[in-house]
Amino acid sequence: MLKTLMGGAALALAAALPLHAQVDIRKETQRWQQMIAEGSPAELFEIEGEALWKKKQGPKNVSLEGCDLGQGPGVVKAAYAQLPKYFADADRVMDLETRLLHCMTTLQSRSPQDATQRLYGNADRPSEMELLSVYIAGQSRGVPMAPGTRHVKEREAFELGQKLFFHRAGAWDFSCSSCHGEADKRIRMQYLPVMSQPEGVRKIVATWPSYLVRNAQVKTMQWRIWDCYRQMRWPEPVFGSEATVAITQYLTVTGQGEPYAGPGTKR
């Protein structure tokens, strides 16, 4: 259906007058982006996520309410805005999704297979990870993004993420920077933010997770990175791996200070 929609769009445009002469593409697409954000159904998913956070699950039949997201067990307020960060109990830097997996396998004693069997959901049934993420992220609205930057491992994660951002590989020799490295560039008609610069990435890190109108799904930052690498024609990144967390750490540190304004609504 989506494919059909897009095919139709190309034909319709072909018949129209020159678009560039008529309208400011950047201004109008930003207006669309703003309007879809105003009429966002993301809150529906936050409510479901809250229910899952409180749902007793796993062999121990406990909820995630005792999960320490970095601000103490059970504290969800402002927790997302302070991730990624170093967690001593796991001795590694974790983003929200990685930390949730950790709590599922420790606090809830669920097997890693069980916790990771359905990381990405669909429009009819979002995944547990997606719903939990939008709920927890929503609890940081208005809080400036402030990932950990003091611990050696937090600094190493930033540096690794920064290097990975520019690292070209895959069938098409792409790095993140291939598309997100230069200002005022587009893929098709979509403008691309420069993610290596604070002004380009601040609004981005402050709006994930997001509801995507193109497939009516809520998606997390781990998914965003995963799907970028898919389109970069790389192999598949492992969910919650050091590389993916490092990229999130790099982007979040670069965009730090922006008050969290998500869960967002995007194309």
Partner: protein, 210 residues
């Protein structure tokens, strides 16, 4: 090499007191050891899926040089590599101009080569993702240069046909660190498809040149 790096990462300690600001907004310098680390990390943290195998993480001489020099290697590094790559392009005999109409469909299609694509689907050229071509297609990217009137400006001489075919087959022959995917080298497109795209760019009847 991989083991070594992993061990090192495991011995980190907490920073005491105030730490130097992180190099936000900068492009890091990549030493050979960094490159080894990045390859090791990618091989550890990525996995093969569908048609996207782990071989895609291996760096050949060209990509090694580009990654080491932030896509701007000195001439003495890039020139011999470019010459070598140009020699490796299997130019077909005869005319390199295929069917521009088929080429147009290829230019429009962005499908293929991802881990979610089936092995035997018809890959596209993804041209419009980054380039302006025909004036009738308004939804074009700007990461690459505009190719509007490409053939009208250059003509259709044998030399131009060879350059166009070669650039699509392996862009690195002409600019080592070009951001354009090596469409033939990566087996994204076959000989006929590249000929069709060459025609789309050069044929006087193609909308690109109208």
């Amino acid at each position: 090499m991989t083991k070594n790096f992993l061990l090192l990462a495991g011995t980190a300690v907490l920073v005491a007191g105030c730490a130097a600001p992180l190099p936000v907004g900068e492009r890091p310098k990549i030493a050979a050891s960094d490159l080894d680390q990045l390859v090791a990390v990618s091989k550890r943290d990525f996995k093969a899926r569908g048609i996207a195998g782990m071989d895609r993480l291996e760096l050949d001489a060209a990509m090694r040089a580009c990654n080491l020099h932030n896509d701007n290697p000195p001439r003495e590094v890039s020139q011999p590599l470019e010459e070598q790559i140009l020699k490796s392009i299997p130019f077909p005999q005869g005319s390199l101009l295929g069917d521009w109409k088929r080429g147009q469909r290829l230019a429009q299609s962005g499908q293929g080569m991802t881990w979610s694509d089936k092995p035997n689907i018809a890959n596209g050229g993804s041209c419009y993702n980054c380039h302006q071509l025909s004036p009738q297609e308004e939804s074009f990217g700007t990461l690459g240069t505009s190719l509007r009137n490409f053939g009208k400006i250059r003509g259709t001489s044998e030399a131009i046909q060879r350059y166009t075919y070669g650039k699509i087959y392996n862009s690195k022959a002409y600019n080592l660190c070009s951001q354009m995917p090596r469409m033939g080298h990566s087996k994204t497109l076959n000989e006929q498809q590249i000929k069709d795209l060459t025609a789309y760019l050069l044929d006087p009847n193609s909308p690109v040149n109208k």
